[in-house]
């Protein structure tokens, strides 16, 4: 197949593939370069190597089963995708989320935003030769993932933020693990800033390279850290405040020239702001009252007791049953509409609980929002993550489209790379933080 680049290439130039399976191309991105020596005359981008048919799959899954798919869009900051999807559905259903769930959501999405920037900058520095920066940042990320893991159960792709709240309350002793994570991340950021900020090699590779003007950035639909590095102050958390961001104070860092170094420094300063947000939110969240250690009994025992005319006392199930804390539910999940998995204690002990649990998962029932379409967006790691959902009243979305921020950021890569040298492609591409799952959906 003759690509466009091959058709209008000069005979004496060299055509090079910076192909999908390349260490710096995150495995699923290909740039075809027309080179005259080291200088790039023309570049053509070829994406779609990680197109997994997300939007088609969404049309065949129920709203509740979509959560794992939504996690895997921007898989570096998965909780923010969950948040975007859950809030879009809550806007469509008109459901209010309790205060504590909103605070936990802010804490969790800020933690994953930091791990998103850590991964992006670590990979960018490693591709430019600073391998130790990558190791420091991965070490810091382990602490952040510890907090996420203890609360949600899995390190990365959690499906923790559900429609109508969050899946479980914070784990006991969460304040100390958040404090350790923030302290370790600050130390790692200090080391990396010392290593890279005035490093002449890093400056030569990034300062003034891949720079974009404000008008071009806006015309390419840039949002997020890349747009802010061009000097345009647009952050969805400030422009359209959601959750409790209006009550928390944080700045929006801006860059001047919009080049690679500005994208790097905006992300570094943004991590500092997210750390401040984590501290403020953990100060706001009242510590959950210690769980009363009643005698937990197994479900079969509960059923046998339930058959008696009047079960002796309120049956408390053993905590290893998924979602069994009935007393915690009202604090972390909405009670407005039947959009939440009923607690196990009701399911096992009352007939209505059993029916509602069964109905929730039965085909054709579950979460059925009203007909119509809705668009809502949150500030993701790379920019504005927007969900456009068209619902036709059944329990499966008729159409679900995701506004992927790095799709727009990457559409400007050809323009930024033309006329530069081959070595400049790596830092420019690294600073844009391309995530395959989000770009190709």
């Amino acid at each position: 197949m003759e690509t466009k680049l091959q058709k209008d290439a000069r005979p004496d130039t060299m055509l090079l593939n910076m192909g999908p399976s390349h260490p710096a191309m995150h495995g699923t991105f290909r740039i075809m370069l027309e080179l005259e020596g080291e200088k790039i005359l023309n570049a053509e981008v070829d994406i779609g190597y990680l197109h997994r048919g997300f939007e088609k799959t969404c049309e065949n899954r129920t709203y509740f089963n979509l959560l794992p798919y939504v996690d895997r869009l921007n898989y570096v900051s998965p909780l923010i995708n969950n948040l975007g999807y859950a809030m879009t559905m809550e806007k469509l259903l008109g459901v209010r989320v309790p205060e504590r769930a909103q605070q936990i959501r802010v804490l969790m999405s800020e933690l994953t935003r930091i791990s998103d920037h850590l991964t992006c900058l670590g990979a960018m520095a490693m591709e430019n030769g600073a391998f130790s920066v990558f190791l420091y940042m991965m070490k810091a990320r382990e602490y952040l993932w510890d907090v996420v893991e203890f609360t949600t159960g899995s390190r990365m792709l959690t499906s923790y933020i559900r429609i109508g709240g969050v899946r479980a309350d914070l784990h006991e002793g969460w304040q100390s693990s958040v404090r350790t994570a923030v302290r370790e991340t600050r130390r790692a950021l200090r080391d990396v800033a010392g290593l890279l900020d005035k490093n002449q090699i890093f400056l030569n590779r990034t300062r003034g390279i891949g720079s974009i003007s404000k008008e071009d950035a806006i015309s390419h639909g840039w949002t997020g850290p890349c747009l802010r590095s061009a000097g345009v102050s647009y952050d969805v958390r400030k422009a359209h405040p959601y959750l409790i961001y209006d009550r928390l104070e944080f700045e929006v860092p801006l860059g001047e020239q919009g080049d690679n170094y500005d994208r790097y420094s905006v992300r570094m300063r943004e991590m500092e702001q997210s750390l401040r947000l984590c501290e403020q939110t953990s100060g706001l969240i009242p510590d959950s009252k210690p769980r009363v250690k009643a005698d937990e009994i197994e479900p079969t025992e509960a059923l046998r007791l339930g058959r008696l005319q009047k079960p002796p006392q309120r049956i408390r199930l053993s905590p290893n049953l998924e979602g069994s804390e009935a007393d915690v539910y009202p604090r972390i999940l909405t009670g407005d509409a039947p959009v939440v998995v009923p607690p196990k204690e009701d399911t096992y002990t009352t007939m209505e609980g059993l029916i509602s649990h069964f109905l929730f998962f039965m085909d054709g029932y579950g979460i059925r929002p009203p007909k119509g379409d809705v668009y809502f967006s949150v500030e993701g790691g790379n920019g504005e993550v927007g969900f456009y959902i068209v619902s036709d009243g059944t329990d499966r979305p008729y159409r679900l489209h995701v506004r992927a921020p790095c799709f727009h950021v990457l559409s400007a890569l050809e323009q930024l790379v033309r006329g530069r040298f081959v070595a400049d492609v790596i830092p420019t591409f690294g600073s844009m933080n391309m995530i395959g799952g989000e770009l190709d959906r």
Partner: protein, 114 residues
């Protein structure tokens, strides 16, 4: 002298063994795909070696010349302290001759590309 020869012998043999160890143990499974160049997994955009533009060749020749010139500094450096100013004069003469060629190439515009 013996120590020098011995070490050359031992380490030379060791190097040779290491090199041919691979051809002794490596399995031979010829595979046509391995003849094609590796271009990050995607089909290569052009076949064969393209003609190289003239400025590249000129730069390569000039580099060859100057590199050999630098190679001659090393033996001089070994005996430099023994001969004092005479060595310096020899070095200056040697450099001056080559500098003339370098300046000529520079004026001919070898460094300003299209």
């Amino acid at each position: 002298m013996l120590a020098l020869a011995l070490s050359f012998l031992v380490f030379g043999l060791l190097a040779l063994v290491m090199i041919f160890l691979n051809s002794l143990f490596g399995p031979r499974k010829p595979n046509p795909a391995r003849e094609r160049p590796f271009e990050c997994g995607s089909p290569s955009l052009q076949t064969g070696i393209r003609p190289v533009r003239v400025p590249f060749i000129m730069i390569a020749l000039l580099f060859l010349l100057l590199d050999v010139e630098v190679a001659f500094f090393f033996p001089l450096a070994l005996v430099f302290r023994a001969h004092g100013p005479a060595a310096l004069a020899a070095l200056g003469g040697y450099l001056a001759i080559l500098a003339v060629g370098f300046v000529y190439a520079w004026k001919e515009g070898i460094f300003d590309w299209s």
